[in-house]
């Protein structure tokens, strides 16, 4: 895997004003890079700011602070319409809710072709139709489906339509915001397999957001764990699973139920108590093991290094 | 004054039985209804029939209207007129008192009349009724001289002297009118702004005292025990309720809540056979006014065509259906009598217009030719009441029998119609007029050039001359004066076709049989309740 940076997120902040005086710091100073061709998994409990991160990266929100560099270019500077359009083709998004993410009043063909229409990617209606059919086949549907309306599809099929829509503009980076958590178990695998297949075939880069660590671990190369708007731990998938360092990560891992009765019988759950942290100084993101970063104070850093050692 | 199908009081009555001496029995309470609240009980400010009705019932002027519309003594016992007809001296009775015990004196008249023309009062009828009648009235009203200069004087407490501008033969009947009622100076000044706004702020010297006045709901009058003629008053109480919908009124009448109701045409059919049904004639006249500055209507033939094309009888029978009669001219029937022969004005002059559609069409076509027009759209200014709307629709239909005439009906409230009338913003206008005193002059005077209510653009030297003569040279010559008026009317209606007379209004009503002795009046208060009583309830 090449280690070429595709996206760099620097000190990204997204604060929402919810009242005259109250502010929700949904994302509060994120720093991480995504390499070309990899899948970066982002996990964390509900409401910790995962979706906000994704949406801010793709400019659905204007960042409160910080920058997002795509191929070295800041996405969040003021840009001309043309530059924005180019960017819109590069970066795409797959949404969480397959029911809410498709316009119920549009035919599948028009939904998929919308990006092509906006960017003028098809010469005529025939070419457009053909491309739509091609995309439908890519995601495992058939061309007969093009003339139908979303409500005629099951959740998994809908999610595949959403993927086809994102693919229509040939993006190289896709943010998948919990693309499977609204789906049935039996369907989840279909979508995950499809995403993997597309990555292999087209060399896509993913930011894969979820709260289900087992699925994320399966699909991701590297994983970031978020807690209350901050990244608390970042490591290779295997590494993170085998050596979770931050107590929150540990509790998260311990909470995931696995389809293995024996494991479950013997499972012990950790509860995370944020007050256990050392509050003497502002925590920082430090590399505890190679490629394995944890949010910690100096004191904690030393402790973690002691406990988990460097490399094995 | 100006009349509208709706703006008049709903109050009217039957005068079938007028012997005041008949024995009264049962509870002497009369229940009535009116379609509107009393706008004011301040005699200087009163302008409408409801106000004049109840002012008249509670206050005696110099004279009051009695049987057959003839003046009978009120506060004045008698009067003398000077040789030149300009100075009238009234001798007041000494037993007349206000309801607060004060005697009614000549000064009460002086005060009230001066107040009526005083510009500060803001009276509308004061300047109108007194201007040109009482010496200096117009000058006072215009603020040129102080009110004290008005030609009225209290010679002593019980002698009241009036100086007129010119001889007015009908002045006696004028003094019965609301604007000429006396006022107790001390009381009025005491109450200031509040005067006459509530029943507590009222004084009366007449047969009844207003004891309750719930605005918008109704009012109650009780017999005035201190009234100088109290022994002839039998009613103990009059209750009046404000009811706007005729249907509601009829329902109330049927359930015995009120003793009289005025009927609109729909109900006439239903009640015509009833013993309680009657028709009250009124000297109020309705006509189509034509703006002589409009296209076509400037042509006298066109106007004559309009006069002739309307089938008035059908309109009265079907739309009004209340006993109204077709109007033959500008002066109503049963209003003015020849001073010698006692013949009715209307009967002498007869029908000055006839319905003749053929002739009308001919005249209209001639007029079109003369005016060089082929078609014309004219605006018809109508009222906004139900009956008015129907009538307007009917007249539109009738008028459009004239080829090339399109009539556009605009329905506006009464006040707005008056406003437009003043600015002559109309082509046709359905208007009416009721008398302010009993003399043909009240109808004919307004059509003189620049007459206060002319607004038709009509200006005829001949006509002006006749009216002028009747009111000055002939003031003391009743017969010739009367005949001049007859001539004038012919000129006005027949030759110059200023108006298209429509009908003389009547009021269909139901009246409980046990109510007796109510007199209907041609002007001022619609009814005299002084002699009314209940019998056999």
């Amino acid at each position: 895997m090449s280690k070429e940076k595709l996206v760099e997120i620097k000190n990204l902040k997204q604060h929402f004003k919810t009242g005259r005086h109250s502010v929700v710091k949904a994302v509060d100073g994120l720093n991480f890079d995504i390499y070309k061709g990899e899948t970066f998994g982002l996990v964390g409990e509900s409401g910790c700011g995962k979706s906000t991160t994704g949406r801010t990266i793709i400019r659905l929100y204007d960042a409160t602070d910080g920058e997002v560099l795509y191929n070295g270019e800041n996405v969040h500077g003021k840009k001309s319409r043309d530059q924005l359009k180019k960017f819109n083709r590069e970066m795409q998004m797959i949404f969480q809710d397959p029911y809410a993410s498709l316009n119920p009043r549009m035919k599948v063909e028009d939904i998929i072709a919308e990006g092509m229409d906006i960017h003028g990617l098809s010469k005529d209606s025939n070419a457009r139709k053909e491309r739509v059919h091609e995309l439908l086949e890519t995601v495992g549907l058939n061309k007969e489906h093009a003339n139908r309306y979303p409500h005629e599809f099951s959740g998994g099929q809908r999610q595949r339509i959403g993927i086809a829509r994102a693919l229509a503009v040939d993006p190289s980076f896709i943010i998948a915001d919990e693309p499977i958590s609204a789906l049935d178990v039996s369907i989840q695998a279909q979508v995950v397999n499809l995403l993997k297949k597309l990555q292999n075939e087209n060399g896509l880069t993913y930011l894969f957001i979820a709260h289900d660590l087992s699925m994320v671990k399966y699909i991701s190369d590297r994983i970031g764990v978020m807690y209350f708007g901050k990244m608390v731990e970042l490591a290779d998938a295997e590494e993170l699973y085998k050596h979770p360092i931050h107590p929150y990560t540990q509790s998260l891992l311990s909470a995931i139920p696995l389809p293995d009765p024996d494991y479950e019988r013997s499972r012990e759950r950790f509860t995370y108590d944020p007050s256990q942290h050392d509050t003497s100084e502002e925590p920082e993101f430090r590399e505890v093991r190679p490629g394995h970063f944890v949010l910690c104070t100096t004191k904690e850093f030393e402790q973690y290094q002691r406990e988990h050692g460097t490399g094995r | 004054g100006g009349s509208d199908e709706s703006s008049d009081s709903a109050d009217s009555g039957d005068s079938s039985d007028t012997e005041g001496s008949s024995e009264a029995s049962g509870e002497q309470v009369l229940s009535l209804m009116d379609t509107a609240d009393i706008p004011t009980m301040d005699a200087s400010l009163a302008t409408d029939a409801v106000a004049f009705q109840w002012l008249g019932s509670t206050t005696d002027g110099l004279y009051r209207l009695g049987e057959n519309g003839q003046p009978e003594p009120g506060v004045a016992k008698e009067h003398e007129v000077s040789e030149d007809g300009l100075t009238w001296t009234f001798t007041l009775r000494e037993d007349a008192v206000w309801s607060n015990g004060d005697p009614v004196t000549a000064n009460d008249f002086v005060y009230a009349w001066q107040r009526a023309v005083n510009p500060d009062t803001g009276s509308e009828y004061g300047p109108y009724m007194m201007g040109g009648v009482i010496a200096n009235a117009t000058a006072v009203a215009d603020g040129e001289v102080p009110p004290e200069e008005l030609g009225v004087k209290a010679v002593d407490d019980y002698t009241f002297e009036v100086t007129l501008e010119k001889p007015i033969p009908y002045f006696e009947s004028m003094t019965t009118f609301g604007t000429f009622l006396p006022m107790n100076e001390k009381f009025v000044e005491d109450k200031g702004e509040q005067y006459a706004l509530e029943s507590e702020n009222l004084l009366s010297n007449g047969p009844f005292v207003m004891t309750e006045w719930s605005h918008g709901e109704g009012w109650k009058l009780e017999k005035n025990e201190d009234y100088w003629d109290a022994e002839n008053v039998q009613l103990e109480e009059i209750n009046v309720k404000v009811v706007k919908e005729t249907a509601t009124g009829v329902n109330l009448y049927d359930t015995g809540e009120v003793d009289r109701v005025n009927l609109t045409s729909e109900f006439v059919d239903q009640y015509r056979t009833s013993d309680e049904f009657s028709v009250k004639e009124e000297p109020t006249l309705f006509y189509l006014k034509m703006n002589q500055e409009s296209d076509m209507l400037s042509n006298v033939k066109a106007r004559q065509a309009v006069q002739m094309v309307i089938d008035r009888q059908s309109m009265i029978d079907v739309i009004l259906n209340n006993g109204s009669v077709p109007a033959g001219g500008d002066v109503p029937g049963n209003f003015a009598k020849h001073p010698e022969t006692e013949e009715d004005f209307r009967e002498i002059n007869g029908e000055l217009v006839e319905t003749n559609v053929e002739e009308a069409k001919k005249l209209w076509n001639e007029a079109k030719e003369e005016e060089g027009m082929d078609s014309v759209e004219l605006e018809y200014l109508g009222g906004d009441t139900e009956t008015a709307l129907e009538m307007d629709a009917y007249l539109k239909d009738q008028l459009e029998q004239l080829e090339g005439l399109t009539v556009k009906v605009t329905s506006v409230p009464f006040k707005e119609r008056i406003e437009r009338d003043k600015n002559m913003e109309y082509d046709f206008q359905n208007a009416g007029w009721g008398p302010d005193y009993i003399d043909p002059n009240t109808f004919l005077n307004m059509w003189v050039t620049d007459g206060g209510n002319n607004h038709t653009g009509y200006s005829s030297e001949a006509y002006d001359g006749m009216i002028e003569k009747a009111n000055n040279e002939l003031a003391q010559e009743p017969v010739e004066r009367f005949e001049t008026f007859l001539e004038a009317e012919k000129l006005l209606i027949q030759e110059d076709a200023v108006l298209a007379p429509l009908y003389q209004r009547a009021q269909a009503q139901l009246w409980k049989p046990y109510v007796k002795g109510v007199m209907a009046q041609p002007m001022g208060p619609d009814y005299t309740y002084k002699y009314a009583y209940i019998e056999g309830k």
Partner: protein, 308 residues
Amino acid sequence: MTRYIIQRLIYLVITMILIATLTFFLMKFLPGTPLSAADKLSEEQQQVVLEKYGLDDPVPIQYFNYMVNLVQGDLGISFQFDNREVSTIIMERIGPSMQLGVQAMVIGVILGMLLGLVSAIYHNGFMDYTSTFLAVLGQSIPSFVFAGLLQFYIGVKFGWFPVALWEGWEYTVLPTASLAIFPIAIAARFMRTEMLEVMGSDYIVTARAKGVNKVGVVFKHGLRNALIPLITVLGPLAISLMTGSLVIENIFAVPGIGEQFVKAINVNDYPIIMGTTLLLSFMFIIIILVIDLLYGVIDPRIRLAEGE
């Protein structure tokens, strides 16, 4: 909460000022004067009368005076009732209208709710169809037609209640009934829809799973939640009562504000039109405010959200 109310009151004042301004200038467009016998007066004499009403000043000054007087509660004097203060005239009339309005509203909402509840409980049954039919009928027949029929049949034919006039409690029966029919219909239909919706929600199933019986479910769990949307229509209902009362008062000879308003419109009595407009607007805004506060009373979620 208090802060919220204060904020709303400030809005109220602003709204009232705007409404006053709007009506004032609208009135200036209209023809007509306080003169009732303009046909009989010379120009000068008319001028004198206009002066009395302050109508001879330039419009901006008139506006200024009007607003200044308004703040002091002075709405001017009526054109049709000489020398009478508009504020007094209106105050005299407000009582009966309020009484009718409140009675009709209370009866309308309570009866309507019951009807709606019955409908919802016996969903798709005979009772449901009957009450739905009645509701649609009540909503579809103009109130003045109802009023006329009630007056004739109940008042004249059967003599159960007084035909018209305003002399005591029994006199309010027919006008209240005529006025209440529309609110009954609206409330019934709304209640039905909402109740059905609420009855399908999860917490109702939870309540039933607890073993609460049908009546308990409907009244303890359903009603309050179904009321929230119903409250929303109370505002429009209040308007419909106002609309209704204009004609109902005429028909039943009730000395109310609506009847007077219609009269004022018919005779161009602008001070009364303006005064009544302001009053109606004021009452209406208050109603909306009360309704908004009611939301909070009924729905604790809103209470908290606005409390902050």
